[in-house]
């Protein structure tokens, strides 16, 4: 009787121990079917000179192409002034002390912008224009560290233009209404 009880206990313990060892207890299962890393895991920071794919610029309705109005029928007036006939909704708060419209907009072809050197820049590459003065931000933006990005951390990502978040005429980020605060902890009723 005593021997039976002892043998039973030992057998139970051995069975448990064997099963624990046999099932390979503490190993993390090998990730079968886990997605493999693509050979180029993440898009490298876009090198200077490489064009960055972006969504279309956020034009106001009907404003583009500018040459609809600004064509040979309307000669360019290069005098620095505050506009009174049109575009009065645009208030420049972007180094207004030193800059005005035609420092960025191309007087000869309003469907594009221009760099300080006079080189034309299309609207969907306006980051090159911003980058002239905002060099560090431009570098960070190319690396993906400045500004919002969506997509894959290990694959295709979508860049946005600077102007998608910063109005080129009043670039300071506008304050926004915050989402609701969390509920503070409350005792039960």
């Amino acid at each position: 009787m005593r021997r039976a009880a002892r043998l039973t206990g030992i057998a139970f313990a051995i069975a448990i121990a064997w099963t624990m060892v046999a099932r390979g207890g503490t190993q993390t299962p090998a990730p079968q079917g886990a997605p493999t890393l693509p050979s180029k895991p993440s898009a490298p920071p876009a090198e200077p000179g490489v064009r960055v794919e972006v969504p279309p610029p956020p034009f106001s309705d009907g404003i583009f192409p500018c040459t609809t109005c600004h064509n040979n029928d309307m000669p360019a007036n290069r005098a620095r002034r505050t506009l009174t006939d049109m575009h009065t909704d645009i208030v420049l708060k972007h180094d207004a002390e030193h800059r005005w419209c035609l420092d960025c907009h191309d007087a000869d072809n309003r469907d594009q912008l221009h760099l300080a050197s006079g080189d034309p820049v299309p609207f969907d590459e306006s980051y090159r224009l911003c980058g002239q003065c905002h060099g560090e931000k431009y570098r960070d933006w190319r690396a993906g560290v400045h500004g919002r990005r969506v997509g894959q951390w290990n694959g295709a990502k979508r860049y946005l233009l600077c102007v998608h978040c910063h109005s080129p005429h009043q670039p300071r980020f506008k304050p926004m209404a915050p989402q609701a605060a969390p509920h503070p902890p409350m005792r039960p009723k």
């Binding site: 099963t19 099932r23 997605p35 890393l37 560290v145 951390w153 290990n154 915050p178 605060a181």
Partner: protein, 293 residues
Amino acid sequence: MAHDHTHKADMTRREFASVAAAAAAGFLLTACGPRRLREIPRDRLRKAIADWEREYSERYGKSVTVSDAGPMPGVLFAYALDLSRCNGSRRCVDACVAENNQSRDPEVKWIRVLSMNKDKGIDFSDADPYYSPAEVPEPGRFYVPTACQHCRNAPCTKVCPTGATWTEKDGIVVIDYDWCIGCRCCMAACPYGARHFNWVAPKVPSEQINPAMHYLGNRPRPRGVVEKCTWCIQRTRAGRYPACAEACPTGARKFGNMLDPDSEIRYILENKRVLLLKEELNTMPKFFYFYGT
């Protein structure tokens, strides 16, 4: 006590029967009993996942999928947050709640945005998570969102008595919701207030359930267990950004693979000044705060 010699054969047979029964019981209980998700064999995991998909689809009336994606080799996730860009909008908080099926009533929010005083810098004794101005950012304040830091030297995984929480190979600290006994040692151990307890049964309306789930991530949790940010394991193991990173309107949140020299994370670590919260505690978070400007 001497055994009667004539009964020896009977006792041996009885002994054998009880020994065999014990062996069978031991084997069955150990092999077929409930297991931790950390060590569950692949085939049993698949079966569990099929059961969950069926159960959740029925419960919520949607076609639920539960991913069993394991960690990718060569990946160690890290997160970076630009303190000069966070404006306290809390878009990340709500995106996280929606993506990860957090309880709406009572409210569970994995991300907590702390409003701090610019004059004092990062000072938790002066932090306010309940700010409600008409507009953010408020003058003189800056914002520090906190959630699980996925520490490399995590105090929470150290103290768990049942081993229900552990760090996966890709660096995500996960919880097995079916193994957690709710002792809350991990909550006492976490220096960042990152862990949240289901004090009552969590409630998520069916129409708001996100049906794309992961078995260690955003599947519905039961009452009485701990939960926390999993870096959107259901998204990140499929290569996508976490919901908070995509929701941030100012682009303050960056995520990627620390081991990839071309990642945004490595760029930030190499070119920006990063800081860790409560660094003196040596938890070695993989959540880096930096000042982009």
